[in-house]
Symmetry: D2
Subunit: 338 residues, 4 copies
């Protein structure tokens, strides 16, 4: 940590900070320049983070040297984490994993029919929400337990693994029972109690980036789960909020290679939410795989105009199959397989 | 709702939409222009919202006419909502309410001392977090129940009312017991299960705007609480995330008169989080009151450099007292009292 | 255009608007719903745009139906525009065009050496700034005319075409003389006088998206050039400004398919500015081509640590050659050639 | 400047950087921590800025210690700059200056009539655009020289000073002749050639913040003008672009005290552009003055619905007069005068 002092900082202020640093068991070094004095701190920065350094008299700003996350960092673990979700499906390895299905689980028959179609096109995981975070209290809120049971049925029929969202800490047992991957939605990326709860179990977790959270904050949230002992975490880029309104969100494709550099955890892309328009899902998916993503999570619905949520961004099964064909070629072009 | 069709939309597509609209019990009118055909829909838009209109073949875009919130709207209730939190303190009336105290509750003695000082300066509500949402799993997470008990003690000693944050649906009973105002933090503004939970009780709720949420989304989240039957909701502008990095967040002062126009609910400003720097808290507070805010929530700590969180944005008690003097003059200048 | 009235709009206010619309030679239709009255306007919206409709008494908001650009729109011209810059190089067709070179022109020998290397790797256009927009008045401002002459020399030696930036309306003749493509930089995207100036000539123009401009505004700026009679316009996505600070800008990969849908003009990607880090240029380039871009513009420098600008985002020639190999495979995977 | 190395940086890389720093005449100090080696550089950072430090092998990131602007900084000049625009009007002193008038100059009679009204209400400077930056090439582009002449006429009639915008470097002589304050619009804040041009003259300059530019970049642009020798620069906060769409821009009220702390230059607020809605202009003006602004620039039009631009954000003269009354009370409340 580097503490930059104001031009008018007094010797007394400098000494005060130096003493505080020493008391914390750290080693300060002081460097007096022409315009500014700087205090560098060597050692475990975490001890200092709980001290609001910018509140010290004489301090102008504090510059961070080390990363605030540890377990999620590639410095901590060099090799890619590969998550085995059973049935021979591994996420984070050479093979690209595609999760597909409706936004919300609506009824059993429809769900099974979609499951069969996305499986035929090459998906290995079925997505579908039983608990739905909706902006409006008057919108469809999901089928709850009934929805989870439909997912179980679809799993039995097709052999697809299940990814579905948790919204409430009280539902953790249900989710552990029914899901192969527990999804933390974008709006809950900093619901720290929920993160702690999924950190206590050992189920794989798909952690979505909040729509206004930085890559660093995403890694800090992953750190919550890892610190709980659950190392089966995959991250998901799903678009961030910007001034651009031609699309629902701005897909931050840069974040994919950035994350692959900073962390050993697998990175999934969600082109459906990242664009908000079905016509953009295929180019966005291709871009994600070209940039190094380990998988995709895509919304598919046979009759988008009747979908109870997110119809405007859902692909028809036949368009999903086409998308898979196009993505497969890109996967090969980057030395991977779908 | 106005449905704008593509230039190449077919008659069949137009008819298909018209039929759907009629089936929902609404009245469509079709207007064929030179370049585009438009379908207007008269009636309750809510029925249509669950239909993903943009997924219909031939549709270019859908323009919303009505507001998606009802109970929170000034169309629904013309007069300002005034919330009585007891002890003669009313929020939303002529008198500006100031809530002040430490970011986190740290220990009993310190808390009572701060409480006495902010009371002396004119605050009527004590703020202090017992459950703390922290970006890092390694940072101080709050004292929990112990913290709530310290708040109760401070209340008993000073007569100040208590505002404190809920983070977990399972804590609702505790919060109802210890808080006079339950705070929903920015990161939980779209934690819909938590909103439903505070909607079931009748305690006043301070709902903070998410750092990347629009005013409309804030009103939609308030709608969740109101729809549950709890009408004691006050909104809080606490800064939004932008590209500017000279401050921690950008205080959206525009949002204050915008909200006062759209809703009958009281509007509070949080200059501590909105700036992230104690030196900016006073000018920001004055701006908020000048723009029409009904109250302030401010962080105060006697030794910011030792605070366990948010020290860099906490005012010393003596600076808080000065701030109150300056804000008092502004309050009078806008025909109100502090 | 749809004019939505306030719930309390009077008949007099409605009639006032209806009269105004008729006077402009347009046809209004009035639709009275339960909650709101709506006035639709059929005909050329442009006439109305100069009228500030939201200022009319009784108006709540105005919803736009038609696009504000015409010549840039695919509605105006269905087929892709292909720009012939001479020497058999066409931009916007099946072949991906790569422009590469240093950020700034620094000296003749270095420039020619870079030109030879990027040519060997497959680039057909040489980039290099003679006039440099720099945030600081104390930073290197470019060599000016001398730089243009070095570019001419490099062109003569290698046969590469030249793309270079115009910053000042007074330099238009120079640019027409020395450039094969005139670049309008991001900071000048809404320098309307400069746009008019390049609209008067017939040189191809590379128009960069402003770092905080929407896709619609980019098309409006292109419209300025097209309206001047210069149809040789290519658009360039170069990253937008967001809250994310892990990269210099956020590459808006969504914008590529969005633009390809809305306009007939070619779309180029600038992965160097869009990421700000040389290690991200290759994945970003691959994503851009996978998403449908027609070309790339990339910064290359043999000794980035000595570059007078943008060294941190410049590729070494050998890394550029590697990038080209990887991009070539992606180009083939989307049915194109490099 | 602090150079943070990667964990795997070699001694050779460290030495390479140390040598480079020494060659530039600066003093490096090296500090080896457990996890990272850090190189600090003491002396004039500017010499180093032209070196792209992040491009050096082994470098992880570079942290800036000093501010990149000098002349604009309060470190350079402690006392507030007060700009005398003649006629006893001083900007930056105890008295708040209000500039008001139409967005565009439309015709002589109307302009004079507005001038008389805003003067009567207390404005001392008349605003009005003769050259108009418009997003659409089809929108009204301003009257040009004719508009400047109307402004001169209005000045003669009322004694008001004139502020009007420059868009083209070729118009500098005209502006010097007709304007008392030359305005640089938001879209030209980083039109560096235009900044250099107004730096060469001695007319006061009103420099508007770009809609997506940081406070630091605003100060860097001011530095361009100051470095040219023109010290009569006032800065203008006019709203920034964010995700919020309830207002046209987000007024960054924080920027006012931030700027007053960082620079000695006067700070003006533009509530018309910062909100985009006339109903918000008064509360926004009051907030600006409460936060410490030195003046306001406000759009006024007697018939907003007929205004050729910005009608939706223009105040009627009678509402402007009311606004002045309310702002006057706030000015007094902060120890100033209007």
């Amino acid at each position: 940590m580097i503490i930059v002092l104001r031009p008018d900082a007094t010797n007394k202020q400098v000494n005060h900070i130096v003493e505080k640093v020493k008391k914390l068991g750290l080693k300060p070094w002081v460097s007096k320049g022409v315009e500014r004095t700087i205090i560098g701190v060597i050692g475990e920065e975490d001890v200092l983070r709980i001290q609001p350094l910018e509140a010290y008299p004489g301090v102008e700003k504090v510059l961070e040297v080390l990363k605030p996350y540890k377990l999620a960092s590639r410095d901590f673990k060099k090799e890619d984490t590969v998550i085995d979700i059973g049935g021979g499906i591994k996420i984070g390895g050479r093979k690209i994993v595609v999760m597909a299905g409706p936004c919300s689980v609506e009824n059993e028959k429809l769900l099974i029919s979609i499951a069969q179609k996305v499986k035929a096109a090459g998906a290995t995981v079925l997505r579908g929400g039983a608990f739905k975070p909706r902006t409006s209290p008057y919108a469809f809120q999901g089928l709850g337990l009934k929805g989870l049971k439909f997912l179980a049925k679809a799993k039995k029929e097709t052999g697809l693994k299940i990814v579905t969202e948790i919204m409430d800490v009280r539902d953790i047992d249900l989710l552990v029972k029914y899901a192969d991957i527990i999804q933390i939605g974008a709006r809950n990326m900093q619901n720290f109690n929920l993160l702690k709860e999924v950190g206590k179990v050992r189920k794989p977790v798909l952690l979505k980036r909040g729509m206004s959270n930085t890559v660093k904050e995403l890694l800090m949230s992953a750190e919550y789960v890892l610190a709980g002992g659950n190392f089966n975490v995959m991250l998901c880029e799903r678009g961030i909020r910007t001034f651009e309104d031609a699309t629902r969100f701005t897909f931050d494709v840069n974040a994919i290679p950035v994350l692959k550099g900073l962390t050993h955890l697998p990175v999934i892309a969600d082109p459906s939410h990242a664009t908000g328009k079905w016509g953009l899902v295929t180019p966005c998916s291709k871009a994600a795989i070209a940039a190094g993503a380990d998988g995709l999570i895509v919304e598919v619905h046979p009759s988008p105009e009747d979908a109870m949520s997110d119809g405007e961004q859902s692909l028809l099964p036949k368009n999903f199959a086409k998308m898979m064909d196009e993505v497969r070629v890109i996967a090969r072009a980057v030395g991977r397989e779908l």
